[in-house]
């Protein structure tokens, strides 16, 4: 916009001397007009929510008092759309819900975030793995904090998963129609434990090495599929072809085990867990949202079992 006066100026300079005085006036005038325009425009930007940029991101106004907008705030947001627009007034009582399921999911996000950052500094090889941890602890900015957070978030996730299950049992929330989702949850519990366990080996220190040695030694005893399990020998199992060999990629916990552990930990299990999580959350909605607090039922209201 401000190119116009400039162009005029260059034009006039080559021409009449008298005109130059009038030109200065014009430029000044133009300048004040532009300034005023900028101020006016800036005033309209004061309300961020009124800008095109904001409106393109958030399709609805977040007017706190408008019920329609409150609903749309949830429904038109990809991160929130798993929620219904409205819920039972008692369903937000955290004394009832404990919030452990949500916290577990949040911890999964924290773990993914810190985990991806850790992957930038880690090589899953026998030569590098342990050194990478030392490097993380001593040289990488905030590396120690990063590793600590990943570790403790993992432990916390196991705890919150258990407490979430505990609450679901105490409130009978696994009952019809949520039986299947409880099963999905049990799978997620196992995946959580496996995620934690596969991560344990990655620092390649004594702690992880022996924990995984003890853990995978049990696999040796798998009935029929383990070299030391019942009926294993009869089925031709040796320590070079049994289920433990498959888990470790070898007969001892070594470089192949480290690589397998790494891939299961960073790609395999998170991928499977994400799918199960999607189903888990989807089914919460489809099964009618959070189970309660529901009105109590009385013994006298128990319906007779339908006989087919």
């Amino acid at each position: 916009m401000d190119e116009k006066p400039d162009q005029k100026e260059t034009k006039q300079l080559t021409g009449d001397e008298k005109a130059s005085a009038g030109l200065l006036e014009k430029v000044k005038e133009g300048g004040t007009a532009l300034k005023q325009r900028a101020i006016d425009e800036a005033k309209t930007y004061k309300d961020v929510q009124d800008t095109q940029l904001w409106k393109s991101i958030f399709r609805v106004s977040h007017d706190r008092s408008d019920p329609r907008n409150r609903s749309l705030a949830v429904l038109s947001n990809v991160f929130l759309h798993l929620h219904p627009a409205k819920i039972n007034r008692d369903a937000v009582r955290y004394q009832y819900t404990w919030g452990m399921g949500g916290i577990t999911f949040y911890l999964f996000i924290v773990l993914t975030f810190t985990g991806v950052l850790l992957m930038f500094y880690y090589h899953p090889t026998k030569v590098d793995a342990f050194r990478d941890i030392l490097y993380l602890e001593h040289d990488v900015p905030f590396g120690k904090l990063l590793r600590n957070m990943h570790r403790w978030a993992a432990h916390l996730m196991v705890i919150t998963t258990w407490l979430h299950m505990f609450r679901v049992v105490l409130t009978g929330s696994y009952k019809r129609p949520r039986e299947f989702n409880w099963g999905v949850g049990v799978v997620l519990l196992v995946l959580t434990l496996l995620l934690s366990f596969t991560g344990y080996l990655l620092p390649d220190d004594q702690l992880g090495f022996w924990a995984v040695t003890v853990g995978t030694n049990m696999a040796r005893a798998t009935p029929m599929l383990g070299s030391e399990g019942p009926f294993g020998i009869q089925l031709g199992m040796t320590q070079y072809n049994d289920v433990r060999f498959g888990l470790l990629g070898g007969s001892i916990v070594d470089s192949n085990a480290l690589l397998r552990s790494y891939i299961w930990h960073c790609i395999g299990i998170p991928l499977v867990a994400s799918i199960f999580m999607a189903v888990h959350f989807w089914r919460i909605r489809k099964d009618g949202g959070i189970s309660g607090p529901a009105p109590v039922m009385l013994e006298s209201e128990m319906k007779a079992v339908k006989k087919k």
Binding site: K86, L145, V158, P230
Partner: protein, 368 residues
């Protein structure tokens, strides 16, 4: 209200009693506070120490709300008129209040706050406590004790009582499948979506039994098992040179060599094929007796239970009703999982720790 008050004070008394007992036990029996501190302050053990507080807290929170609902249920059962008009929740309700509220902002703000709090907790935890890092992995230098992460210590502790194929493979599988079938064998339609103990005494009891047993095994694995996986009481110094002579015997040998066994000429149970048959009988009778025990637990009316006059099998009318709703398949499935895990685990634990019995059934292919 008076009843509620007395319940509350009883609960407080029990809590106080447990705390006093723990303090007395600690003062008299802890010889080595440093050892106890070393175990509890190991960074990887912090979560299980936290669980020692979290599990009782959330149990209390659940029981508190169950009690409130149970009182309401009792009140409504006595007063059918009130039952028709009551909003049926222990949570307050007034006419005119909206039944539903908007997720934005009322739920989203709680979720946001929870995320902030968890993040802060994680930051504080991560700044104050470092993740453990031992020496580089060395297959030639065995860690002693060589422990799995705390959440697997229950499984590792089970290795003491069962062979690896049971403790490490079969038991975890049964527990997983058992958890998954839980909703399908629970035929009780009541207690769906609210805390209650009165209406779901057996289901909640069974789950709590399993959960607490699991926590207990982890606590044993964390605080009690020392070098060589030897039993050291909390506060006892871990002796790295301690040796325990394995005196464990198989049940058939134990019976054959006992005084009664000798008097009855039962020596033959130690020899093949009687050994096998004996074990088979023991395991089968365990399943039958176990199932009878659970059946009793399921249906007994604890209030009418008494020794004088002898009344061991009074039936609870409500539990009878629930049992009538249970199909044979549901019942048998439940019994299988209950006896195989919930009962087998503590029974084998007691057999091993108290009677030093190794196996109850020895066969050429597997031992139980």
């Amino acid at each position: 209200m008076a009843k509620a008050k007395s319940n509350l004070s009883r609960g407080k008394l029990i809590t106080l009693g447990v705390i006093v007992l723990l303090v007395v036990l600690a003062v008299f029996f802890v010889q080595d506070w440093h050892q106890l501190w070393t175990i509890s302050s190991a960074p990887d053990n912090v979560p299980i120490v936290a669980m020692l507080f979290l599990v009782p807290f959330f149990t209390w929170l659940g029981i508190k709300q169950s009690r409130a609902n149970d009182r309401l249920i009792e009140q409504l059962e006595e007063d059918p008129k009130l039952a028709k008009t009551h909003h049926r929740k222990a949570e307050p309700w007034r006419p005119g209040w909206a039944r539903e509220i908007h997720v934005w902002p009322y739920l989203v703000r709680i979720e946001f706050l929870a995320a902030v709090i968890v993040t802060v907790v994680l930051f504080v935890w991560s700044i104050t406590l470092n993740a453990p890092l031992e020496e580089p992995a060395n297959p030639n230098l065995t860690m002693n004790p060589s422990k799995a992460p705390w959440y697997f210590l229950g499984l590792q502790e089970m290795l003491v009582y069962f062979d690896p194929w049971i403790a490490g493979v079969v038991m975890p599988s049964i527990i997983m499948v058992g958890l998954m079938v839980f909703p399908y064998v629970d035929s009780n339609p009541l207690g769906n979506g609210y805390y209650t103990l009165k209406q779901r005494r057996f289901a909640v009891g069974m789950f709590a039994w399993g959960f607490l047993m699991w926590i207990l095994l982890i606590v044993i694995g964390t605080f009690i098992r020392g070098p060589g996986w030897i039993w050291f009481w909390p506060g006892q110094t871990w002796d790295h040179n301690a040796v325990v002579f394995d005196k464990n015997v198989d049940l058939h040998d134990w019976i054959a060599t006992s005084r009664i066994g000798k008097a009855l000429h039962l020596g033959f149970v130690s020899a093949n094929p009687w050994k096998f048959i004996f074990g088979l009988i023991v395991v089968s009778s365990f399943y039958i007796l176990g199932a009878l025990f659970f059946h009793w637990l399921m249906t007994v009316d604890f209030k009418k239970l008494s020794l004088r006059p002898l009344r061991l099998f009074p039936q609870d009318a409500f539990e009878q009703k629930l049992l009538a709703r249970t199909s044979l398949l549901q019942y048998l499935t439940f019994q299988f999982f209950a006896v195989s895990v919930l009962l087998a685990m503590p029974v084998k634990l007691l057999l091993r720790l108290a009677l030093t019995i190794k196996y109850v059934w020895v066969t050429p292919w597997f031992n139980i």
